[in-house]
Symmetry: C2
Subunit: 639 residues, 2 copies
């Protein structure tokens, strides 16, 4: 293991970032006051909390499921982020009570898993391929690190360190150890968090081991199946790409298999590469990143083209109505992007991160914070899911497999952590989010304030607050979608040509208290076209304004959205609709559609039917299904 | 039961129709000489034949499956049709040997089912919902009737009459009888065939009972489940539309559930209505027919929009790439259409029948007769099926559930039965098929000869051969797709305006030996458009020439077929390509496509990329996948 860290940026942690007002303030508030209590209540009602008491006995109802621990863990993590900016004694007591339950469940040897302690005590570590044991461990580690960072309380962290030590004793290349690795990745990135929180390098080594052991021959999933007395199955092996275990990760060049597992792995690989400077691993991360972003990414920043296997499929295969695009996968892609961004300080990572956040991630939760999408389709007919083995149309209150709701809760609660990074004498601003960050620059404490209505408005105002002048670069991301960005410092225009560094306008100077930067990111409505190889989007355009992808909804445009055509020359305007969710820019324009009433019951007839003028009204994709459920369409036919 | 038969036409039976030369002669020849022996061999290799010996014992391998009898039955039926026009002692001995095996398997009480005799003797008649027992019985009856009609040999017919009598004792409304009906319909239409073959009205009554008992409350599938000790399942009931058992059939207005089951039922309902004149039943048939043909029918004459449940879904839902459109369902729709046609003598039934035959049915078997499609998609990307739980791309040699191969074999072998009907002093010609028919008209034997290259050419020449002059109407179908049909009798033009009867040109006169009718059905290439409610086809056209739907194949047009656009004004020409399968008209024209090479790896970019001219070459849909497998597309983008 080389030891020279490779990342050039370090995220400004969520504790030092305040998200207030603007677009995100209300979303975080809803997350804190509605979603978090609601998810706690769901964990209680579904007996996920009860399960932690380990009172379940064989034959009883409500048998704990093998991934319930991870749902609890993500809720704790979300609560921790929330507590760091909004102290709340009641919430804190609630978390502490759950932490106590978890701690009580830890076994003498450090092992900690509710399912395997109460339901299948003899099966511990016998089925890494399918049983989510290390996945649950990873989520508990993330929760422990977040809770420690938010509150300084070590109890859960200590519990998880003991568990991590148990895992390190159990797995590894040494004699007597199992050469296993998780069927559902997650622990890799969690161990790197644990390493960073504790400084204990053995956790980084364990993460590195899990990353590199994956896909090696003889194949561990075969060996553990044989140890369980199961025949080595040819079909099983053929499916190891589902677990990204078809090849050692260093020779993987394409994103394969279950999209959540995949992106958690890639994030973990990037973490290990960032800490170790391992060039081979980094090259694999870059190759996979290119494959995703050049061939396997929805325009909404979502990933996972097939519900069967919840997985990546093949290059340029991006079906809209039968997409999967799981909320968790889209969040996991943000994790991967965020890690690559720290390594390379290149805005193309932030561009994808932003695309995912404002579209495929935010779509995962209703505006009121009470209902969730598991899969985030790009075209919906409300009757289709029932016949296509899809989840029902419309957001749901909860899911039997409930990974997405707590995942989006923890993501929104931690949004502040994605906004800024500290570089060499530089503060990078990746996202435009109203609020502030406290950082140390040039040896001095500096507060950066952001005021902005972004992504609804194109102005961002940043103010520097510092006791003494400080020399550093403020590196402002110029989004890839923006073609006429401009910056003023204290009212004077700054030429961007000379200061662009990998997509960031790096304004280096000695900053004084009260210095004001005004960034303008003009966001006309754009038509976006997909590569000709994407068969599902040929002849179609997506509408985008700033980072926000728009869609048509039946409630605004009537039925048969696919019959609408948008002339290439038609002007599209955005205007603020104050009646829509308190003020949202909507996009309108002239279009065409046929008149089904003229068909008199015909199903087919010679081509040539007339079109009549129509108007479209498009709303931000992530806001769809907050009014009457119905048809929805992102890719609109052009013509 | 009223007793006045409702049908105005009676099909001229296959024994009296010779199919020779032209389009169909070689297809029947391939079916006889390649497909039939190959399917026998598959039945042997897969131990379906062996199973008839009932030597299987519990614990042994190759356990007979509960629908194997139906595969054998369809093979016998196909062989029977073939024998009626091509005597073949070897084939006849082969059939006789199988008939002997079947006869030996009949139980004392008349019961006959290989699975339930050898594998589950205690479970007889306990699970009509799922176990295909009456379905197998129906196929055996069809085989028996066909073999008797072809050869005059009664052995199998007698066996099946005894079985039908056993079934009639077992099921019915009387005390002590089970009020059951099949989970997979088929026996209804088979019993009507048995009635017609034997004159025994009790078989018609049993068919009528099965039709009318379906969907009544208390629900039989619930009761038999309870009798098996299974809990009445709410989910089970919700799924009874899968079996068309959600409502009594007379109040059903839409085509629901498994498409093969559905269309076999509808054919059986039409049969019962035809024999009994039952107006209520006929009204239900008409309503369902309208629903299918106005809202749930692929342009290829295929039905069944979802592979999950192999079923009808909802109005105007006709996905192309994820279609199911099972070969058996398309054949079953031909059965339904053919029966309605006899009742109403209206060419709209024959139009649908012809559309299905030349497209969604014929596509089910390769040109060489050796490989089969189970599902007949309208758009294919060769890599997609593996990720979408579809059957593999390309035709297969056989299937675990092998209903389609013997079904298409029996259908092609019996094609002659669909060509003509006898009406009141009239001979109806529904399909243009080279060959001849021997009928009795005006009390005299008449031979009608057809010479035609249809559907490749637009001329049909019919010649009347009769000893003495005979007065009757020759009713020639003018296909719905044809707008400029013309007819000459002995060289003189006949005005069609005055003689059109429900889509048939009824030329009534005293015909003399050698009278010649020349029908011309001009078939320019047409662009067909789908109703605006069909979201999957908006902005697209299908190309059709005569009854034949065309498609683009990768082997002719390269990859990315969906990127091709066909200008509305572009001329499309058909010309005979002699190098293609011995001579097939192909359709060519100018089109546009983008240049993916100019994208330099971009996945998305602002709209407005240039198009370059291209040419398309379309081939008949039913011939696709006879060359290199690859992409295929029926609905081409217009623009």
């Amino acid at each position: 293991m080389t030891s020279r860290p490779a990342r050039v940026l370090v995220p400004v942690p969520f504790k030092r970032v305040a998200v207030e007002g603007g677009f995100w303030g209300p979303r975080l508030e809803t997350n804190r006051t509605v979603t978090l209590p609601l998810e706690y209540e769901q964990c209680r009602k579904t007996r996920r909390l009860e399960a932690l008491k380990r009172t379940w006995r064989p034959g009883a109802r409500n048998q704990p499921h093998h991934f319930w621990d991870s749902d609890i863990a993500k809720w704790i993590e979300a609560a921790a982020y929330s507590l760091s900016t909004h102290p709340d004694p009641k919430l804190r007591r609630r978390v502490d009570a759950v932490v106590d339950l978890l701690a009580n469940g830890q076994q003498e040897d450090g092992y900690l898993n509710t399912y395997f302690t109460t339901v299948a005590p003899d099966a511990r570590w016998t089925n890494l391929c399918h049983m989510h044991e290390l996945y649950c461990a990873g989520h508990l580690m993330e929760a422990a690190v977040a809770y420690y960072a938010a509150t300084g309380r070590r109890k859960l962290l200590d519990v998880l360190c003991r568990y991590a030590d148990h895992i390190a004793r159990t797995f590894g290349p040494r004699r007597g150890q199992k050469r296993g690795y998780p069927g559902h990745e997650e622990i890799e990135l969690a161990l790197v968090k644990l390493y960073r929180a504790t400084g204990e390098r053995r956790y980084l080594r364990l993460a590195s081991y899990f990353v590199d052991e994956r896909g090696r021959e003889p194949h561990y999933f075969d060996r553990e199946a044989a140890a369980r007395g199961e025949a080595r199955s040819a079909r099983g092996r053929a499916c190891y790409d589902y677990n990204q275990a078809h090849l050692p990760v260093r020779v993987q060049k394409t994103a394969e298999g279950h999209a959540v597992r995949a992106c958690y792995l890639y994030a973990g690989m990037a973490d290990v590469a960032a800490e170790t400077g391992d060039k081979g691993l980094l090259a694999a991360c870059r190759a996979i990143w290119r494959n995703i972003t050049e061939r396997r990414l929805y325009v909404t920043g979502a990933v996972g083209s097939s519900r069967f296997g919840e997985r990546f499929t093949f290059d340029y295969d991006l079906p809209n109505e039968t997409a999967y695009a799981e909320t968790c996968a889209n969040i996991a892609l943000v994790f991967f992007a965020h890690r690559m961004l720290q390594i390379e300080a290149d805005s193309r990572y932030a561009d994808v991160m932003e695309r995912a956040i404002y579209n495929g991630v935010l779509s995962g939760v209703s505006l009121d914070g009470t209902r969730f999408f598991y899969d985030n389709l790009l075209a919906v007919h409300p009757r289709a899911p029932a016949f296509n083995r899809q989840k029902p149309a419309g957001r749901q209150e909860w899911f039997g497999c409930a990974c997405c709701p707590p995942n989006i809760a923890r993501f929104i609660a931690s949004l502040g952590a994605y906004v800024y990074s500290a570089g060499r004498r530089a503060l990078y601003v990746h996202l435009y989010v109203a609020g502030s960050a406290s950082v140390e620059l040039d040896g001095r404490p500096v507060l950066i304030e952001q005021k902005t209505g972004y992504p609804w408005t194109d102005r961002v105002q940043l103010t520097v607050r510092c006791g003494e002048p400080a020399r550093f670069a403020l590196a402002l991301r110029v989004p890839g979608w923006c073609r006429r960005a401009s910056v003023k410092v204290n009212g004077s225009r700054v030429g961007l040509a000379g200061c662009m560094r990998k997509g960031y306008a790096a304004i280096r100077r000695t900053w004084r208290n009260g210095d004001r930067i005004e960034l303008t990111l003009p966001m006309p409505v754009e038509r976006v076209e997909a590569n000709p190889h994407v068969r599902q989007d040929c002849g179609r355009v997506a509408l985008q304004r700033g980072p926000v992808v728009y869609c048509l909804e039946e409630v605004d445009n009537g039925q048969d959205l696919n019959d609408i055509t948008l002339p290439r020359a038609a002007k599209l305007s955005a205007r603020l609709d104050r009646a829509l969710f308190g003020g949202v820019p909507v996009v309108t324009g002239r279009a065409w559609r046929r008149n089904a009433a003229e068909w008199h019951g015909d199903l087919y007839r010679p081509a040539g039917s007339k079109r009549r003028p129509a108007r479209i009204r498009a709303v931000p994709y992530f806001l769809w299904a907050n009014r009457n459920a119905g048809e929805m369409l992102v890719w609109i036919r052009e013509g």
